[in-house]
């Protein structure tokens, strides 16, 4: 049923307010995350002092080491001092590696970003192209077989995909190195070579989701009445695809792409471990195993902050593309 609209109604979405609101949520969420991680890590069985000094150190030595590293005192005290340091840029020294955390995390995070971007480019280009391609062959055998392949691919654990890739391309064919440490002296090409297999592994899991969204979005557009209108207006095909189909069909994909980007940039712990790639994911795993609380906190915080920001940007892009979307929290989604 139609609604009566007064003539001068503007669909004014309070964009500024939305951004402000979301940005305000960021520190709150980060705070909760930091507390949760801090608490969990305290509960982790195992003693960082022991790990650092080895089994033969005496209890006194361990106690002294702990005091030196700020690991004595109540949990609240420790959290407080950590928080103070963190906010002022002093992220402490890694308990297991002895280096300043900030530089360490920065470097590792950058590595993950590069790897993630590489994977993201593959995902976005291949995923969207496949999805759109499928939509135009909807229901046919090509469509169904691509869907089946994509579904399968995205559900396989990354290390399984990575292992198979390694066995085939590194062990059998020798095209790529088996371990992906960053070569000190290598130029960009060496770096790319080291990142290729991990990037493909990362991409494999994500492409399926993106392709599915692109396909669904395109199909919805092709089925929509306004597509019929465009065709019956006698518009040339190029204009129809370019101006009417593309934007509308890709809008749903934007949300998925954003989510995948956030995931990819977060550094997949599994992939980085499998390939021994020095990213933030690997750092987190190591930090957990070595009970390196200082390194762990900083790593998780950086990852969380990046995820939140990317998701915010995604939502904004989403709103920019589709004038109907109003994310001003007035309707609780769904």
């Amino acid at each position: 049923m139609t609604a009566v609209a007064p003539p001068a109604r503007t669909a004014h979405r309070p964009v500024g307010r939305i951004i402000a609101r979301r940005l305000l949520q960021v520190p709150i969420v980060l705070f909760i995350v930091s507390v949760a991680v801090f608490w969990l890590v305290q509960v982790v069985p195992g003693d960082p002092g022991r790990v650092a000094l080895g089994q033969f150190a005496t209890s006194e030595q361990v106690a002294i080491w702990k005091a030196e590293n700020g690991l004595d005192g109540s949990m609240i005290e420790r959290y407080g001092s950590w928080l103070g340091g963190f906010l002022t840029g002093d992220w402490g020294t890694s308990l297991s590696l002895g280096e300043p955390v900030r530089g360490l995390v920065g470097e590792r995070f950058l590595n993950s970003i590069l790897l993630g971007l590489f994977a993201f480019v593959i995902v976005a280009v291949v995923g969207v192209a496949l999805g759109v391609f499928q939509a135009f062959r909807q229901g046919g055998r090509t469509d169904r077989s691509i869907t089946v392949t994509m579904v399968s691919l995205s559900s396989i654990p990354e290390f399984a995909v990575g292992t198979v890739l390694l066995v085939v391309f590194s062990v059998f064919l020798g095209w790529f190195p088996v371990f992906s440490g960053i070569p000190e002296d290598g130029g960009p090409f060496a770096r790319l070579s080291v990142m290729t297999l991990p990037a493909i592994t990362l991409a494999a899991a994500s492409i399926g989701y993106v392709a599915r969204m692109a396909r669904a979005g395109t199909i919805d557009t092709l089925d929509a009445p306004y597509y019929r209108t465009a065709v019956l207006k006698g518009l040339p095909r190029r204009r129809i695809v370019g101006a009417h189909v593309t934007r509308n069909s890709l809008v749903p994909s934007v949300a998925v792409l954003g989510g995948q980007l956030a995931y990819l940039l977060g550094g997949s712990a599994v992939v980085e471990t499998l390939f021994s790639y020095p990213g933030i994911g690997l750092t987190i795993v190591d930090a957990v195993q070595k009970k390196d609380l200082v390194l762990l906190e900083a790593s998780v915080m950086v990852t969380a902050a990046a995820s939140i920001l990317i998701l915010l940007v995604t939502d904004l892009a989403y709103m920019a593309l589709d004038p109907r979307i109003d994310l001003s929290d007035e309707g609780a989604g769904s």
Binding site: Q25, V29, L30, I32, V33, V37, L40, V41, V43, V44, P45, T147, V148, V151, S152, S155, I156, P157, E158, F159, A160, V161, T163, V164, L166, V167, S170, V171, F172, V178, G259, A262, Y263, G266, G267, S268, A269, V270, T273, L274, G281, I284, V285, V288, Q289, V300, T303, A304, S307, I308, L311, A332, G333, S334
Partner: protein
């Protein structure tokens, strides 16, 4: 008074279970996938029954596939094939348990959130923001390492982590149904909230729930295998596939078979489960 308006031929909603099963079996991808799943479920049982031992040294170390050892031996001389078959056990116990936990909790939360809205609903949506901030495996990793590496904590961690995801699907389905008047009709006739949730909404939400749960199962395997790979799940000398790959990856250049076959095994299992989910989705009509 005769009624002569047109009667449609097709039933669109809720085919009875027997018909569903038959339709499923007729689909080749489902049939093959189901066979694969059954194979892996039976594999560890077969190992037990046949008295095969995945922990004993059966031959020389690092033998390539062939001969007495169909898939070769690992660096401790253990038969890869036997360990492969036995390794299906750990993966197939943790993931389904976690998924079941998530399904039950998620359904309850989703029903209440969708029907009542209000506080429960808000909390659910907020929890999403938080969960989205930390990548899944990291969150579960932290929880698992904090509470000890038993299967139980992993089940708990994955289960709790997946609950909001299932709750969200259930909530969406509930919201769709809420817009339909048969729910309102029940209210005017005095049905209690409880009965509406269970009798009216739940049956209509069930297909969406089943499909989502099956997808979650695939993902639960993904996560628990990953955790084993990161040494947070099963412990040596368990034949858990993830653990085997993690331990043997340093030998990848010399004994590729020790990692390749477990990886392939995981691939077949996960693909099979996802194809089953896909077929369920098609047949249940969404």
């Amino acid at each position: 008074m005769t009624v002569t308006d047109v009667t449609p031929v097709v039933t669109n909603d809720g085919p009875p279970p027997q018909r569903v099963a038959l339709q499923l079996l007729r689909r080749p991808t489902f049939a093959i996938s189901a066979a694969i799943l059954v194979f892996w479920v039976l594999a560890p049982i077969a190992v037990k029954i046949l008295g095969l031992d995945p922990y004993e040294q059966a031959g020389d170390a690092n033998l390539s596939p062939g001969g007495d050892h169909l898939l070769g031996t690992d660096n401790l001389g253990r038969d890869v094939l036997i360990r492969l078959l036995a390794g299906a056990g750990p993966i197939l116990t943790v993931a389904p348990a976690a998924t079941l936990l998530a399904a039950v909790l998620g359904t309850i939360l989703g029903l209440v959130a969708g029907y009542r809205r209000g506080l429960v609903d808000d909390l659910l949506m907020r929890s999403f923001d938080i969960l989205n901030a930390v990548p899944g495996i990291v969150a579960v990793l932290l929880v698992a390492s904090a509470f000890g590496r038993s299967s139980f904590t992993i089940v708990l961690a994955i289960g709790v982590f997946f609950t909001p995801l299932i709750a969200r699907t259930v909530r969406s389905a509930v919201l769709v149904e809420m817009g339909k008047q048969y729910v309102e009709a029940s209210r005017t006739q005095g049905e209690s909230t409880w009965r509406i949730l269970v009798s009216e909404l739940l049956p209509n939400v069930r297909p969406a729930l089943v499909v989502e749960a099956t997808i979650r199962l695939g993902y639960a395997i993904f996560v628990s295998a990953g955790l084993s790979f990161l040494n947070l799940g099963a412990q040596a000398p368990s034949p858990d596939w993830g653990l085997v790959v993690a331990q043997n990856r340093i030998f990848i250049q010399t004994s590729w078979w020790t990692v390749a076959f477990p990886a392939l095994a995981i691939i077949t299992l996960v693909v099979a489960i996802n194809l089953i989910a896909d077929n369920l989705r098609e047949v249940l009509g969404r």
